[in-house]
Amino acid sequence: MIQKSDLVVRLVFIVVAAVIVLWTLFPIYWLAVTGVKTQTDVLTSPPVWFPKPDWHFYRDVLSESGISQGVGYIALRDSLIISMGTTLLCVILGAMAAYVCSVFPANVPTGGKSMAFTILTFRMFPPIVPTIPIFWLFFLLGLLDTHLSLIIAFTTFNLPFAIYMMKTFFDDIPRPIVDAGLVDGYSPFKLFWKIVLPLAVPGLVSVTALCFVFAWNEFLMSLILTSTAVRPYTVLLATWMTAMEIAWAHRAALAVVGIIPPIILVWILRDRLVRGMTLGAVR
């Protein structure tokens, strides 16, 4: 029997859920809409919710030779290069390291488990702390203001997380399978390549996606380690100003274009991401 109070409670929950969705999406909607506004629409009061769309900012951000001479396009391209490089490096190095920590903890200096934990502690550092000396280190190595510098820096900061997460996925693989491989005479690398890795792929894919999103959205280290030759879109977003006007529309357009890759990734992988996003708290 459906009770009246039940219905009321249910209704309340649904209304609350609707409010939550609106609250969640409004700032993103506002960004998207500002990107299509003309300058007059941007700077009016009352604010315009449904402007007549002027797509030239979005076009400009995505084209190599628009009004802004491709600044937005180059920034997005730089971000892509850096994010893909970071992800590649993180996945390769991280998977291998996590595999050793998980399957052969005895071979890892100071023991696999505590090494993984220690590595994770570095996640606790604010990025600014090591970035100051890294800045000088890269200067000595001649790496400042290059894509490589950011790829290396991001990999370094992301590896602990990646290793830790991937280790949990490797831990999930039933030990008998691994042992069977060892008995059969597989070398550790062959075991990794032929047996363990294929089994852990679904989980690894999600860690990869999160690595990409981290590198794509990173701001502070990018700001410090680059100045002019390389400019990820996050840095451009913070500093893009024209000489004389309040220029919201093209920054908004850039921000929205920047949201799209993570959203696509996460939408595709949505069922698998819980563990990564909650840092292993939830399996």
Partner: protein
Amino acid sequence: MQARRRFVNPVWMFTPGFLIILVISIVPLIFSVYISLNAWSLAGGKPPELNWGLNYVWMVTDPRFLDSLVRLAYYAGVGVSLQLILGLIFSTAIYDGIRSARMRSIVLTVCLTPMLVAPVAAGFSWWMMDHSTYGVINYYFTAVGLPYVDWLGDPRIALTSVMIAEIWQWTPFMMLILYAGRLSIPASLYEAAELDGARSLLVFRRITLPSLKKFIALAVLLRLIDSYKFIDTLFIMTHGGPGTSSELPTLYIYVKAFEQLQLGRAAALSWAITLLAIIAGNIFLKMQERS
């Protein structure tokens, strides 16, 4: 009987990753200790000279730093508490309020989007909405009779405005953890309560919350750590302003190092924050070990 085989030590698979972490983060950290013992300012032209612990002495008497610590306590304490409360509400609303599992999954994914937005982009959006003249928020506030609020220009409110943007962006994180926690509560507990005719609020208090304790603790710790780590939103919304009324310690380190160009003092400040990091890290590890 095991066949004799040459066992290639797999540590070579571990080493590249480990080396990168060592060289690019641990070594610079140690170098940063060295910098913090020097008086080194890029402006003026004197090369770095050792002044031992003087930077640290300066640090503990620097009013700007001490004020920023107080602000951090407010920002982390209030911010994370609000995120927790909202996260509880959100996760409960979605878990209990939406019947169809498919709908739940869609709504959940939609609610994750704030976490995917670059913090700078989120900050920019909120900056536009909080704008003193053309911001949406003030327009509707004054339209319904609420007072006009100078979100980013009033020194008493600026930090709170940034905190609101952070809450918007990271409550989904809390929500996700708590939601997953809800999933793990055995249904039998709830069935027993239903049999006893308990009302929903009581059920919530007596059954749901205690079962979620572990998840709550983890989520709160992770968010506390992030609250002193990330300054992207703060950077783009107020940059510590107006004046220094919304400056957090991490932003102060950035300002000292890259705007005032005083590297020795900045390094000393960064070690103070690192202390926080080490303490937080240890707590996290202990918690993980216990679970």
